[in-house]
């Protein structure tokens, strides 16, 4: 909604001085400048019962300033109507010099805007001093960036208040400078590339000035050149490139480069950073997170998978720095590629509608809720949400008895507004739990097993669950009460977590009992991963059976299903659900994703063939899910689109969801909604011809792809002949199988010959023949099945 900062002048100037070696920023446009030299109030009005006067007591510039006295509340102060002066979405730098009247104790001053939207006031913060940053002995500058979005306000009053309700103060040299228009389509989408093959620095400059940048042929990632940076004096020193005309606020980019330390330098983490200058304010934003680089080999630093530039600016520079130390390093093959903004395809069938006869379809939510295209995508295709992290213990009760639900409340509100149900994830887990939970108050360190600690820990557990589920009432229809408590490697199947060490299995009982006590309406779930493995599912079965036999209130099992392209098989899924079904419980798929694996470092490098294969795996998986109608109540994807997934990391990029980074449907989407649109889905086989002598009869098998997309990696398996008439004989199929046919593009076909020895078979011997074929690494299968086949 707004952005603000409170850089002090000195800090800002210091940073500007540090950036002296870069191209100077374009000067911002001043739109308001008040120095009160004309003796008037220059349009400023009182906010609250205060007195404003033009004063010549002190001045920052000239001989006049604005004096505020008679304040009785923190938000009292001088105010300026800026409605019509400031534009929705634009960014401004707002500055004022402030000083307390003589004798007033040092305090904090704050510069804010009260924005009235739909009749309700909203307070935006622009800048503030430190707690005692403003004194009566000198001038202090308040400065920050300001922009507002959403609905155009009906009231917009900037004011300067104080954390002291009664402090009196002077204001001088107030200014508003226009920084940038609202983010819009970029002026160009060319991106940039630096390979250093030109022999020069290709526009790269020392960020701080002392660095030495040298085009080098001593090491290179590709070609014969790279850029070497030496003489770095701080971690923030490094090569920098002005990208003001290449990267634009509101746009998204794939950024990558290769880096390698100079010989002899110890392993160091490097970071790719953007430096934003907006007026006199300078800040930095990490583009590629810290990643270890050595002198032994080139390491690719890349965005994961995409960087959204949200920095209104007057200039931008991209630079490479180290996390610590000052090693010299090479960079090469720098690429900045524009990525189109996400857009929801409104003409698609909704996934939730297609699957409505079977189960709810969920996605994750995170942060302060769903907005923009993310909200559109979630609302269109999903009717259930699960918070990725905001309901975990470290988020909801970071310190004992202090509950925090800001993000969850926003997500629940979104769900209510969009007709979605909410799953609660999770109440008890051994991970993402604050340290205080396991601290022994007597020792101040992690608990050791004792009756007292067991009682204490179980009480903390009860209090936590009560606090969480009571807050949400009936807004959450199901809870993952206990998460990942099983370790199939243990004789009793229970993970040796601190929970187990201190309480045995009692924490499981208490968690379910407490959840039932305070959320009697909710379905209570035990949730775990790898549930389709034989050993894990046996453990889950035994755990649930034990809980039910002892009257512990458990309603179901959650199968996380972080799947790959090869596992689990649809049959393993069916077997798992059918094994647990006799326990008379609900079953849910809670965290589904189907990772493509590999070691991709650029989203766009993931081959079409891999995405096609993923589409077939999704198709086959949902074929199994649909067969579980009545046993499976919800399927939740652990994400929405590939721009946000836990499977993407600093070492590899994955694409495990139905929608790509542009929020467009992938083959995985079609695998659910209309599998006939999968690449190569129409692949069919036929017997093209038969020829040759009886002892080496050649059957030509043709695979045809009349449908959409390429059938990737088509193969023909060994024909099986079953005699149905005539004197008995044994035909022998010769050759090596499967026969690789390869990619068959849409509208084409390919043939392969198979030789069969029919020696001993009479002319009228007839056979049933079955010839399996496949594409997409066996995920798409078919067969030529024919009866009444003569040799």
């Amino acid at each position: 909604m707004f952005c603000g900062t409170h850089l002090q002048t000195h800090a800002a100037l210091l940073v500007l001085a540090l950036t002296g070696s870069l191209a100077l920023a374009a000067p911002p446009t001043n739109i308001v400048q008040h120095g009160w030299e004309d003796g008037t109030l220059q349009g400023w009005i009182p906010r609250g019962p205060v007195a404003l006067s033009n004063s010549t007591d002190v001045a920052h510039g000239g001989s006049h300033s604005l004096l505020t006295t008679g304040r009785v509340a923190g938000d009292n102060g001088p105010s300026l109507n800026v409605l019509g002066t400031l534009t929705l979405g634009a960014t401004y730098q707002v500055s004022a010099w402030v000083r307390l009247t003589a004798g007033t104790p040092a305090t904090q001053l704050l510069m804010r805007v009260e924005r009235t939207v739909s009749g309700s006031p909203i307070t935006d913060s622009i800048a503030s001093s430190s707690a005692t940053g403003v004194t009566d002995s000198g001038w202090t500058q308040l400065t920050g960036l300001y922009s507002f979005t959403g609905t155009n306000p009906t009231g917009l009053f900037l004011y300067i208040g104080s954390s002291s309700a009664t402090a009196s103060y002077y204001v001088d040299d107030f200014s508003i400078d226009f920084i940038a228009d609202p983010a819009g389509p970029p002026p160009n989408t060319t991106g940039l590339s630096s390979t250093f093959e030109s022999g020069g620095a290709e526009g790269w400059l020392p960020r701080l000035g002392s660095e030495v940048l040298t085009n080098s042929t001593a090491a290179f990632h590709s070609g014969t050149h790279s850029l070497l940076t030496t003489n770095r004096t701080t971690a923030g020193a490094g090569p920098a490139l002005d990208v003001t005309d290449k990267m634009f606020n509101g746009s998204r980019y794939f950024v990558s480069l290769w880096a390698r330390l100079a010989p002899g330098e110890p392993s160091t983490n490097l970071i790719v950073t953007l430096q934003r200058t907006a007026g006199t304010i300078v800040s930095t934003s990490t583009v590629v997170a810290s990643k270890a680089v050595t002198s032994g080999s080139w390491v690719k630093l890349f965005t994961t998978p995409i960087y959204t530039l949200s920095l209104a600016n007057t200039s931008l520079s991209l630079f490479v720095q180290s996390a610590t130390g000052t090693p010299s390093f090479y960079i090469d093959d720098v690429q900045v590629t524009y990525a189109a903004p996400p857009s929801v395809e409104t003409n698609l069938l909704s996934v939730k509608d297609v699957l409505a006869p079977y189960f709810y379809v969920g996605a994750i939510s995170y942060g302060s809720g769903l907005t923009g295209p993310s909200s559109e995508l979630a609302s269109k295709h999903f009717n259930s949400i699960t918070s990725e992290n905001d309901m975990k213990w470290d988020a909801t009760e970071p310190s004992e008895g202090t509950f925090r639900f800001t993000n969850m409340d926003a997500q629940v509100a979104w769900a209510k507004a969009n007709g979605s149900v909410v799953r609660g994830h999770t109440l008890v887990w051994h991970s993402q739990i604050p340290a205080w939970v396991f601290i022994d108050p007597n020792t101040g360190v992690t608990m050791l097993p004792s009756p007292e600690n067991k009682t204490l820990l179980l009480n903390r557990l009860r209090n936590h669950i009560q606090g969480v589920v009571t807050h949400f009432g009936t807004d959450i229809y199901t809870y993952d009460v206990v998460n990942e408590a099983i370790d199939e490697g243990q004789a009793n199947c229970l993970r040796r977590s601190t929970w187990y060490t201190i309480t045995g299995k009692d924490f499981i009982d208490v968690a379910f009992q407490t959840a039932r006590q305070y959320a009697p309406h909710a379905k209570l779930i035990y949730n775990d991963y790898s549930s389709t493995s034989t050993s894990k599912r046996t453990c889950i079965y035994n755990l649930v059976a034990d809980l039910k036999s002892r009257g512990i209130p458990i309603d179901g099992v959650g199968h996380q299903m972080h799947n790959s392209l090869t596992s689990p098989t649809p049959q393993a899924i069916l077997d798992t659900f059918n094994l647990l079904a006799p326990l008379n419980i609900d079953q849910q798929v809670t965290e589904l994703d189907i990772g493509v694996g590999g070691s991709y470092t650029n989203y766009n490098d993931i081959p079409e063939s891999v995405l096609a294969r993923q589409g077939y795996v999704v198709r086959n998986t949902f074929n199994a899910f649909r067969q579980l109608q009545g046993k499976l109540s919800t399927v939740t994807f652990w994400g929405r689109s590939d721009d946000h997934t836990w499977l993407t990391s600093a070492t590899k990029i994955d694409a495990p969801l139905l929608f790509d980074v542009y929020m467009h449907a992938k083959p995985a989407y079609w695998g659910i909604v209309d599998p006939t649109r999968l690449p190569g889905a129409s692949l069919t086989g036929s017997l093209d011809s038969k020829s040759g002598p009886q002892n080496a009869r050649v059957w030509t098998i043709m695979l045809s792809n009349p449908g959409l997309g390429t059938a990737f990696g088509a193969q023909i398996s060994k024909p099986v002949l079953t005699q149905t008439s005539g004197a008995a004989c044994t035909p022998v199929v010769t050759g090596t199988f499967p026969i690789t046919v390869g990619d068959i593009v849409s509208g084409s076909s390919a043939s392969r010959a198979v030789t069969i020895d029919f020696t001993g078979c009479p002319a009228l011997a007839a056979f049933k023949v079955t010839i399996p074929f496949s594409s997409s690494s066996g995920a798409n299968t078919g067969e030529i099945a024919r009866t009444n086949q003569f040799r």
């Binding site: 006869p357 079977y358 109608q629 017997l687 038969k690 009886q694 002319a763 030529i784 099945a785 024919r786």
Partner: protein, 188 residues
């Protein structure tokens, strides 16, 4: 008058061409079938072939149905050998679908978990020979004209709601009707 006669000749010529163009396949009684989940439906056929000898080699539902919706069973290719063509073979064969007798093109078992509708093609596979396979002089090596060809027709399978579901819907509809009846006097 003259142009009318010319048109008639053209139409007859067209029919003649069509008659010799190849085998003709018709689904009986129609392409759209449906029933409750858990039941089996199917299709009968009429196939006509006037030139050469058509040997039926099977049938398929394309695209192959997913298990959650159902499964297709070939009947026409697994029964007695069907040869259609010049004398002494029949040129036309008609069979109605009968699961217990195993007649018709094929059977479609609608899975218990099926919902909605599945569209596809019902395909009859055949081979074409220049000599009747039932002729003592038949030689499959030399008399084969076409190893593998297909006749097809568009079909649809509907999974209609379970009777139990209908029983649930009926009281709901009745309740809505009652509600509406009760409101009518208020509105008047």
């Amino acid at each position: 008058m003259q142009s009318k006669r010319a048109l008639t000749i053209l139409l007859m010529a067209g029919m003649a061409v069509a008659a010799h163009a190849g085998p003709v396949f018709q689904v009986l009684p129609g392409g759209t079938v449906g029933d409750f989940p858990g039941t089996t439906v199917g299709w009968g056929f009429t196939i006509t072939n006037t030139t050469d000898y058509l040997v039926v080699t099977g049938s398929q539902f394309s695209p192959a149905p997913f298990a959650f919706f159902g499964s297709y069973q070939d009947l026409i290719g697994t029964g007695p050998l069907i040869v259609l063509g010049p004398s002494p073979e029949p040129q036309t064969l008609t069979e109605l679908f009968n699961l217990s007798l195993g007649t018709g093109v094929g059977a479609f078992h609608i899975a218990a978990t099926a919902a909605g509708r599945l569209d596809g093609q019902l395909i009859v596979d055949y081979a074409l020979f220049s000599v009747d396979p039932n002729d003592p002089n038949f030689d499959p090596d030399t008399d084969l004209l076409v190893a593998d060809a297909q006749l097809s027709a568009p079909v649809s399978v509907f999974a209609t709601p379970e009777p139990a579901s209908l029983l649930l819907i009926a009281p709901g509809l009745f309740a809505m009707f009652r509600l509406r009846r009760k409101r009518l006097p208020v509105r008047s």
